[in-house]
């Protein structure tokens, strides 16, 4: 194992190299661009053996990746925001076709107005496609997850595509020391891709043909079952990875100092690293606070949410985007699990950091203060969903 200083994008490229991706159709978009560039370099330096297909769009990137997978090759691609949105149709196709393409998405805001900064709308909008979703908070996690995601996605019981999320710039362009695992160890962990069914001229079959309503529903139920089965596999793969590297990402959810916590903040991405730091400080002050970081969005970690629900007084859900007309997406997801739960905790939604706005330690502390207050006294004037830090005065000035 070697420690190297890597940006999130470089870590992504190394992950694809170590996973021995065989076909990589990709199209550049800020802030994903350096992934594509780095992969082109790795191939031309002879360090990586893969077919790099320089497609003319993300839609084609995903379509070529699916076809490559159907042919029996390990396929990888990367994109961001508008690119992911353009892939939408083919993400659904990849899931229905049961092709385990791994896609890294650099989370970026959707225009207009144009913005290239961190925001989670791109990935949240793909929740229903049938793609497994991993979320990362640092560059080590990105590299490790590319390898782990292939293992999960390609499992014969699963065979679904996977999306790996990393925050624009906070990770994509920020260097951190990253352990680069040995190829030989990765090879032991991740066997070559060898799907049971593939395009084969000696055993011709059709893939994705027309079905009638009675069969379609059966196919969908099988997808649903595989997605549900992925939970246990993700936990198992996380444990295996920990045995090999000493690194675990919490299986289905990353819980930080949650065991005896009364107040929890739940959210995704880099702002949760900041939040963990603040929790350390607040713990020293005797506050019973903890962080639950989203690791897997699909399949949703419902057992983990219910585990927390049995223990804590309140969960504040931080959303770095919004589902217009229906609250933050993670807030919806968490609340959906708590309905039907006996004695559910109090929940409140904090919409924060949208479009790359900084989320700094003071904000996290304010959210915990607010959460304790509203749990005691009920939602104030702001109600259940608070867009934190708007210029309209709805957030106390000293907390902005």
């Amino acid at each position: 194992m070697v420690k190297e200083l890597l940006t999130g994008n470089k870590a992504t490229a190394y992950g694809a190299m170590l996973a021995r991706a065989q076909v990589i159709p990709a199209y550049p978009i800020t802030p994903q661009t350096t992934i594509v560039e780095r992969i082109a370099d790795l191939i031309s330096e002879g360090r990586m053996e893969a077919k790099f297909v320089k497609v003319e769009s993300e839609h084609s990137a995903m379509a070529a990746a699916v076809a490559a997978c159907n042919t029996g090759a390990r396929a990888f691609t990367a994109t961001s925001s508008h690119g992911l949105a353009l892939m939408h149709e083919v993400l659904m196709w990849a899931a229905g076709a049961r092709t385990p393409v791994v896609v890294v998405n650099v989370n970026r805001a959707m225009g207009p107005p144009w913005s290239v900064w961190a925001d989670h709308q791109d990935a949240m909008a793909e929740r229903d496609t049938g793609i497994i979703q991993f979320w990362c908070e640092n560059n080590q996690e990105i590299l490790d997850t590319v390898i782990m995601a292939h293992k999960v996605a390609e499992d014969p019981d699963i065979m679904l595509p996977a999306l790996i999320n990393q925050d624009a710039f906070f990770l994509s362009h920020t260097s951190e020391p990253v352990d680069v695992p040995d190829q030989e160890m990765v090879d032991r962990f991740l066997p070559p891709f060898n799907p049971k069914e593939k395009l084969d001229v000696d055993d011709p079959k059709g893939f994705g043909s027309l079905v009638m309503p009675p069969q379609y529903m059966e196919f969908r139920a099988k997808m649903a079952k595989s997605m549900d089965m992925a939970r246990d596999l993700i936990r198992k793969v996380d444990r295996e990875w920990e045995e090999l590297t000493g690194r675990s990402y919490g299986g289905m959810m990353d819980m930080y100092r949650c065991d005896d916590a009364e107040f929890i903040l739940f959210g995704a991405g880099t702002m949760m690293s900041t939040a963990k730091d603040v929790v350390d400080d607040m713990r020293n002050e005797g506050r019973k606070v903890g962080i639950a970081r989203l690791r897997i969005l699909r399949p949703f970690p419902f057992e983990e949410v219910r585990y927390l629900a049995d223990r804590v007084k309140a969960i504040g859900v931080m959303d770095r985007t919004y589902t217009f007309g229906q609250g933050g997406p993670l807030y919806n997801e968490v609340n959906a699990q708590l309905y039907n739960h006996t004695n559910p905790p109090f929940t409140k939604n904090y919409v924060i950091g949208v479009g790359g706005r900084d989320v700094i330690p003071r904000h996290i502390r304010s959210l915990f203060d607010d959460l304790e207050k509203v749990q005691e006294n009920g939602y104030g004037e702001e109600g259940e969903i608070h867009w934190w830090g708007l210029l309209d005065g709805s957030t106390p000035k000293e907390e902005m």
Partner: protein, 304 residues
């Protein structure tokens, strides 16, 4: 003594497809597969041919077939070829088989990408001059004056207002090594062109004029003979472009366009002045083709 067979005997398309009576597109597939043989992988987007092989788990095709979203045929065959290369599998034909809508309109971007990268694949556009699978709507390949459900005759005469899109010219602009047109009424010519295409490395493109009795409002019995009239009226021309050099592969004696049009309900509303306009356009296009042939052949000859 038996006559020598001009068409390969091998059948890779079984009877029992779901196409309409007299469907030219089914003939196109049958002949393409005869030319390509067993070691072929097909990619098929949304189009009549996405339905014609049959309902899962049945298929009338005896080569591996991959269905792909409507606009992705180019990307899909590029992905298959890249995977075959990565896996070290050689001597396999990769063929995209798409309709005119999936090619001239929604899929042209992906196709352009494939051609630009010079990926080693054959792209077949079976051309029935409209979106038939969705019930006869106009496509870029629909000829001037045509009735379709989105170009109704009505009271205002809202028939198709622009001539057929010149897809071979678009492909020629990509500088790919082989482009051809063919039609189902001339299977030997079609098979020869497919075989030739598959013997060449790089991106190849063949447009196959494929009558559609259902969408053309035409007697299915005419599905073969109508192609002959399409050629003699210049409604469709047979040629190939090999490394930029044009060769017209059939130069039939000209017959009046009106006779061709009146056999098809989709044209029967056309007033004489419109027919004259269409005919003039087709004649000019044919003349241009003759000039291109002469010019490119001369140039190729003089550079040798």
């Amino acid at each position: 003594m038996m006559a020598k067979l001009t068409i390969p005997e091998e059948e890779l398309m079984s009877p029992g497809h779901m196409g309409c009576l007299g469907c030219g597109a089914t003939q196109a597939m049958r002949y393409v597969l005869k030319a390509a043989g067993k070691r072929t992988i097909l990619s098929i987007p949304a189009c009549c041919w996405a339905v014609m092989p049959g309902v899962w788990p049945n298929t009338c095709l005896q080569v591996p077939e991959l269905y792909t979203p409507f606009e992705t045929t180019g990307a899909s065959i590029s992905g298959i070829r890249a995977a075959l290369d990565a896996l070290g599998q050689e001597d396999i034909n990769v063929i995209g088989f798409a309709g005119d809508g999936g090619t001239a309109d929604i899929g042209i971007q992906a196709l352009s990408g494939t051609a630009d990268r010079e990926d080693d694949v054959l792209y077949i556009m079976y051309d029935n001059e409209a979106y038939m699978n969705t019930g006869i709507q106009r496509s870029g390949s629909t000829p001037l004056g045509t009735w379709t459900t989105t170009t109704p005759v009505g009271v205002k005469g809202d028939w198709e207002k622009s001539p057929k899109k010149n897809v071979t010219a678009i492909m020629a602009a990509h500088g790919i090594p082989y482009i051809a047109t063919a039609t189902t009424g001339y299977p030997e010519d079609l098979i020869r062109k497919v075989k030739k295409a598959l013997s060449i490395k790089g991106t190849k493109f063949i447009q196959i004029f494929s009558p559609c009795p259902t969408g053309w409002k035409m007697d299915p019995a005419l599905t073969v003979s109508i192609t002959k009239e399409a050629l003699s009226t210049r409604a469709f021309n047979l040629f190939e472009i090999e490394n930029g050099v044009y060769r017209i592969t059939m130069k039939p004696k000209k017959t009046p366009l009106k006779e061709y049009l009146m056999k098809q309900g989709r044209f029967r509303h056309m007033p004489d002045d419109l027919i004259a306009k269409v005919e003039a356009g087709l004649d000019t296009a044919y003349e241009n083709l003759l000039h291109l042939e002469e010019f490119t052949q001369k140039k190729a000859g003089s550079s040798q």
